[in-house]
């Protein structure tokens, strides 16, 4: 065993990691779905609120006194000289809270997933997996789930917002909307969702990666 360091490295190519992560998600699809569902809901809420604000701004930009009155009646606090609306502090709080609850939900679901997979992780370590292989697998899985869940949630929220506004304000809501703004809101929601998913899996993944193989073997299942 006196051969040089270079020959003594264990490896897991990225392509193979992605393959394993995808397979894990597919096999445990129902569980992944549950894990992702809270993220879908939180992100769709975020996207809904932001796109709705974009629509209100689009309406305001028309500088039509009638539309302004309709907006005020719809519950927007618009001072006479204001030309744009933002989210009220209360609404921002609700968004932050919903995202926090979502992260806690993800941490909870992922910790359970790690417990379920103790044996699998231990076995991989016995086969020579390094801590970071395990970490990478969990992060990849969470990343894929996060991207898919947040994508679906953001589109859902935006769609719901468009339909809702169309019903309340009529077709002018859609014609006056600056679509780049709405697109940015959706992308922002996806990004936030992805980050939340990765933040939520961080602690469970570290727990999994640090586990000694012998501990994994001891777990009775």
């Amino acid at each position: 065993m006196g051969d040089p360091q270079a020959n003594r490295l264990v490896v897991l190519p990225l392509r193979k990691s992605i393959e394993i992560a995808l397979k894990s998600i597919r096999v445990r699809f129902f569980r992944s779905l549950i894990t992702t569902l809270s993220l879908v809901l939180a992100v769709s809420f975020l996207s809904f609120v932001n796109v709705t604000t974009d629509i209100a701004n689009g309406l305001l930009a028309k500088e039509d006194p009638d539309l302004r009155r309709v907006l005020v009646r719809a519950g927007y606090d618009i001072a006479p000289e204001e030309t744009s609306v933002g989210n009220s502090p209360k609404l921002r709080w609700i968004i932050i809270l919903s995202l926090l609850v979502c992260v806690v939900g993800i941490v909870n679901a992922q910790l359970m997933a790690v417990t379920e997979r103790f044996r699998e992780i231990g076995t991989m370590k016995c086969l020579g997996a390094l801590d970071r292989f395990i970490l990478r697998l969990f992060l990849l899985e969470a990343g894929i789930q996060g991207l898919a869940g947040a994508g679906a949630g953001a589109l859902l929220g935006a769609l719901f917002s468009l339909v809702n506004s169309f019903i309340r304000f009529g077709h002018v809501a859609l014609t006056s909307l600056r679509w780049t703004d709405a697109g940015q809101s959706v992308l922002f929601a996806v990004l936030v969702g992805l980050i939340l998913s990765l933040v939520g899996v961080m602690y469970p993944a570290i727990v999994a990666a640090r586990m000694q193989p012998v501990e994994a073997m001891r777990v009775e299942q």
């Binding site: 193979k16 894990s24 699998e120 016995c126 086969l127 020579g128 997996a129 292989f133 193989p213």
Partner: protein, 247 residues
């Protein structure tokens, strides 16, 4: 054989103490053991004798409280995380009582995983994986998922996986513990055959007396120390003893 014999595993004055709350449990109280390359060794002992603890030490799965474990004359306590992972990947093949086939992967993917870790490219790994599955008699089932295989077949997959990187040592922890009599015998015969053909050292922790027939050496563990070590030629007597003890 005596002249050429080479120690693949050397355990020197190993003790292990576990702390369960405030209670100290001394699982091993000073074990010395030398295992010659290519032999088929059974570690026997009642449950709670320290057998599994010793087994985990030899496999580099656990570190001793004091004393040293050498594999190929390298002290495994001196290895860093990378070297330890390399050792587990290339030098040692593990077989478990509960099979531990990774459930989300097919039989073939289970067998190729250690080869991928070992740096082999995918095509070569697949080719070798199929060969190994044929060797253990599962050539036509390599695309099956673990839940589609019986216990005996899963253990065969585990044997093939243990052989993936041509290890010097196969460590088997109660490999027949979850199998019926006949399937257990088949797995034992398979291990013995592989040990002979490939000159692999098989170390098996067990309390399955079927193992005695094929073992070159039996290490009896009792109360955290080596009770006695018997070679193959001395064994028939002790089997007689066991028979009379049990009867």
């Amino acid at each position: 054989m005596a002249e050429e014999s080479r120690n693949i595993v050397r355990v020197s004055r190993v003790t292990k103490t576990f702390h369960l709350g405030k209670v100290e449990v001394r699982a091993l109280t000073g074990v010395d053991l030398e295992i010659i390359a290519g032999n088929y060794i059974s570690i026997m002992g009642p449950s709670g004798s320290g057998k599994s603890t010793l087994f985990n030490m030899i496999g580099g799965l656990d570190k001793p409280t004091s004393g040293r474990v050498f594999i190929d004359e390298v002290d495994i306590a001196q290895l860093d995380a990378y070297e330890l992972a390399w050792l587990r990947c290339r030098k040692i093949g593990y077989i478990f009582q509960t099979f531990n086939i990774i459930q989300v992967m097919t039989a073939l993917e289970n067998v190729t995983l250690p080869m991928i870790f070992g740096g082999m490219n995918n095509d070569e790994a697949v080719e070798k994986g199929i060969q190994l599955l044929e060797l253990v008699g599962l050539g036509d089932r390599y695309l099956h998922k673990p839940f589609e295989l019986s216990g005996g077949q899963q253990q065969r997959v585990a044997v093939a996986r243990a052989l993936a990187n041509d290890p010097a040592i196969i460590l088997a922890d109660e490999p027949t513990g979850n199998l019926d009599l006949k399937t257990g015998e088949e797995i034992i015969a398979l291990l013995k055959q592989l040990s002979k053909e490939r000159n692999v050292t098989v170390i098996s922790a067990t309390h399955d007396f079927k193992m005695l027939n094929v073992s070159d050496q039996v290490v009896w563990i009792r109360d955290g120390r080596v009770d006695k070590i018997e070679n193959r030629d001395e064994l028939s007597i002790s089997i007689g003893e066991i028979g009379t003890k049990d009867g």
